[in-house]
Symmetry: D2
Subunit: 357 residues, 4 copies
Amino acid sequence: MGTTAATDADTTAETKTAGVVGGSGFAGGELLRLLDGHPNFELVQATSREYAGKSIGGVHPNLRGRELRFSEPAELEPVDVLFTATPHGVTMEHVDEYLDAADLLVDLSADFRLATEGQYDEWYDGHSAPAYLDVAEYALPELNRENLQDADIIASGGCNATATLLGLKPLADAGVLDGAHVVVDVKVGSSEGGAGGGAASSHAERSGVVRPYAPTGHRHEAEIEQWLGLSVSFTCHAVDMVRGASATCHVFPDGPVSKKELWTAYRGAYEAEPFVRLVAGGSGSYRYPEPKAVAGTNYADVGFELDPSNERIVVFSAIDNVMKGSAGQAVHAANVALGFAETAGLEFAGLHPVGSP
Amino acid sequence: MGTTAATDADTTAETKTAGVVGGSGFAGGELLRLLDGHPNFELVQATSREYAGKSIGGVHPNLRGRELRFSEPAELEPVDVLFTATPHGVTMEHVDEYLDAADLLVDLSADFRLATEGQYDEWYDGHSAPAYLDVAEYALPELNRENLQDADIIASGGCNATATLLGLKPLADAGVLDGAHVVVDVKVGSSEGGAGGGAASSHAERSGVVRPYAPTGHRHEAEIEQWLGLSVSFTCHAVDMVRGASATCHVFPDGPVSKKELWTAYRGAYEAEPFVRLVAGGSGSYRYPEPKAVAGTNYADVGFELDPSNERIVVFSAIDNVMKGSAGQAVHAANVALGFAETAGLEFAGLHPVGSP
Amino acid sequence: MGTTAATDADTTAETKTAGVVGGSGFAGGELLRLLDGHPNFELVQATSREYAGKSIGGVHPNLRGRELRFSEPAELEPVDVLFTATPHGVTMEHVDEYLDAADLLVDLSADFRLATEGQYDEWYDGHSAPAYLDVAEYALPELNRENLQDADIIASGGCNATATLLGLKPLADAGVLDGAHVVVDVKVGSSEGGAGGGAASSHAERSGVVRPYAPTGHRHEAEIEQWLGLSVSFTCHAVDMVRGASATCHVFPDGPVSKKELWTAYRGAYEAEPFVRLVAGGSGSYRYPEPKAVAGTNYADVGFELDPSNERIVVFSAIDNVMKGSAGQAVHAANVALGFAETAGLEFAGLHPVGSP
Amino acid sequence: MGTTAATDADTTAETKTAGVVGGSGFAGGELLRLLDGHPNFELVQATSREYAGKSIGGVHPNLRGRELRFSEPAELEPVDVLFTATPHGVTMEHVDEYLDAADLLVDLSADFRLATEGQYDEWYDGHSAPAYLDVAEYALPELNRENLQDADIIASGGCNATATLLGLKPLADAGVLDGAHVVVDVKVGSSEGGAGGGAASSHAERSGVVRPYAPTGHRHEAEIEQWLGLSVSFTCHAVDMVRGASATCHVFPDGPVSKKELWTAYRGAYEAEPFVRLVAGGSGSYRYPEPKAVAGTNYADVGFELDPSNERIVVFSAIDNVMKGSAGQAVHAANVALGFAETAGLEFAGLHPVGSP
């Protein structure tokens, strides 16, 4: 489970400069917000092919009043840390250029998440810079904290994979998944589709949906399998929210498991983690993890229930896909890599009440 | 207020054939649904440049199982009635061709709503077939029933204009608007933007909005002025629903008006109308007109309240913009023109509960 | 699969009188709408303890203008068919009274869905009129059409059970479920919670949710097991829509199954069914069943996908919980029982576009 | 417009203790979040009659993990600042008790917003502690900054009044409202109704609404008139969002006004204000103020448009009703009163994208 969270890191650490490639998309905009408010980063550049010359607040209305303007992606400035929030395939094509410009590259795309060229051949369309696959470290600090600390390339995890992995990793580490049968049924918001638009994602067509997509063969299965060591039956549904990914994992273990064993596994995994909260039962309206309760934050809420009559464990995991599932995870990993306080820039607690955040 | 509604029309009237030009958009799809279920129409053709060859149910999931397929707009079949649901400018360009193909042309665009070429010069980009402006009759039966009965071209009204006109026409007819000052504040759903998509209308950007658009100078002002004889201060807002247009009209009359006079004006105007309901006060959750309560139907709910301290009348008017504001109005007008029962094919009562319909 | 649908039933059948007990709730209101527009029913009574004396349109705004007023439940009028839409436990307590008042009792609660007193002891709090359990017939015509035709009591199925059963029954009949492992992950709208309100179901708390509830031990499992002959692992989630229930069934059969075998099973089961549509693949935005596409209708859309890498069948089933999952199913079953056209009063095609219906 | 914002205030100011009476409601919960994260406050008590003994995170899921538990309202601890977020009438009843417990009382209810007992007789049900009306200062720093600095009681403004006043005050100060005619059409989210619930505010009934309420005679008119010196025609609508209040003000000035004069008035009023942003025109999706863009923040976005053909100014003003319209405004005012940095604890920038926040 990696080393302990550096919650007592030196908050007077020197400031690092940061740039964002692909700053007009949803993940890129979230990076701009987080870096703009981060005590240890100075945001010096944001690129956007489409909006070069426009102020970042003209695209992201929450950033109104900032002076920074988008620049052309070809005109990279040297920075300490470069975050890339570009479509799949761009970072692998430009990785040398990016590593020239920065000491640390944090990529939010899928380009460096998998370990081998063979996986890219199987799940994607191959890889154009396979030599760097060994260099890159997977971002999730809860899974890979110790390897982040001297990383040159950090690969931020996929949102659905993140929700799933945080729900299931403690079971894997406790041996509960050995020989188990796992179904993962995911519900996601419209921000997962990116800022582009298109008829199917128009408000009129997408409002109120429970829409199956990628019912089988979702690419995030590869990341999940890589970290859990087992294949899962994975199905995604679009539902009516903007931010959020919620994974319901139906686990059928090989033998009986008690509730106490589950609590031991989850508490052991997460009690020192600054961004994972165990939410299981209790009273009130919010008894299990749900994405509303973590919207805008870097938290992952994880909970579970035993179903004795079906010899089943039901695990619920909820994140904000733009934060813990993307930009927040990337900043968290950078904090770890650079020795900043892990929660620096990620302190927002979330809102109550909140609608479809 | 036109002649009385022909609620006792001959329901055994002979069947007419109908075609729809522009059947893949939202208004066109609604026409297909209404004509498919209409007792006096046989739907024989639906055109779509983009989806020619595809079944209509492949575009409109509520029409799954119908055998009709989209055909090319250039291959019009002769029909008794041709409904055109095309972007502004298409019908005026093809009007001769359409009138060759059909005895009655019912146009859902803005191309024939205004009376004079001068209005089109002022509010649009001119008009290419001004000779037909005198031929066309404005669709709203509540305003123009008697002229529909032998019409060759019917111009279905704009959605926002329809909501506004139904709210204010009884006041105009009663003389209450003489010298009055009128503000119209409209709230509309995303279906008004059409089926196209685009970043601003994506689910992620448009969910949860209260977004001013066309804060001044909305083209529907021209229709409103044409039928009320006065100019209104008109502002539109996009809100989070798919179907619906709600007009709140703040009327400042020249002299005092009593609640009794208002009831007399509205009851006189609408008591014989099959699709207008007066909703003012009462108890429960639904005390004033609201678009939810008419979603999917051809009803317009109209109500009002007196504000003595401000010498103001507040008029509320709610319609489904795709129905009473477009396709339903067109079918209603065609029913009048052809002597069918006015409510034929338009009997759906709406749903309760219903969300953002 | 019962006898063939009587789509060519005598539509000139004599009219029957109908009453609704519990007409102010959501299912009761939907019954009022359906019976009011039904060609073979005359709606003569609607009861409501809370709203006795008020017009039905004062509670259900879609029924504005109807003259019928709610009456006290104690003052039942004799009718041909009595529909009861009351909370669990009421019908079993009053069953003798109801059967005195009507020739046919159609109950929308859970009181007569299960076959034996023992099941009620296990899943509910026992049963106070167990002698009638043998008399009652389960409503779903697709499963039990032939037994409905001379029924005295019809028990309308639960919404989640209906979605699940329609998705899985063809597989059970084809033997695919023998020895299979089945996970059912359901997403439902807020109308399932009824018309009552409460803090957790307030708009502010429930908007935008993906909220697990009844993660294990849901009572509808009993109905599902009764008709499929196997236990399923069932978990429900509240999502942001008002109407709709969507069941995603992850089926792990005992041996290999081909896509062709699946098509054969589903086509055989449903090709003559007037209210079940197979939706699997194709192009466009609506490639699988989703509740939006059936909102307001009595359709169930059912589809499936094979996941060869996990030896899994994914079945999607979507209904409107207030219609096919409750009032629509009840009217459909009454149509069968009384020899009316099966689709009588249930012809509404649904809307496109439509939001969170 | 008060004194200049103390943006360079001493951020190393000593810490003050704070308590919240009425901490389980929406405004109370927001106070808990803000005070918990505030650099100059130590949150020492939160009261709740209903939840006494429960952890604050059990009611407000965004506050999971905090150790503080609700206590009984009768057991007040002495604090430097007491924030009261109770229903109307409670603070005036307990004001002596509250002032005994704290040096500064910040009340979020309407109890001390108006200046005279006569206003409470006219708009509310009188006042039980009128002697304190002269003591209390209205919270909005943009209107009343200089008087807040030695206040004993601060009355946080009403949400709709806040949106309206921020939109119109610059026009009033510039004389543009002299003799003007003003219509204010407001759209609000469901959090305005509070945490209680009830059938009309249930998700099923309130989703997708555009629902007029308080169409005339809204109590916030009194606050508006008190600060603008003129009466406005005010109408509210509930729309489908959780947080947010949006005021569209249609202003008909007595004589001609140029766009330049408007810019001068608004820039002069707000250029030094840390929480008011001018948003008027530009390109992109967010060209005017809208509540989404300020959700979760203490910003008010204000913009305007000239409508020369109607001699009208349209002013748009958007806030988060729980923040700038309630708890955020209260903390801002307390910051001013105590000499803290005005933005302390209120730095959250908001999210993009965001749904119905």
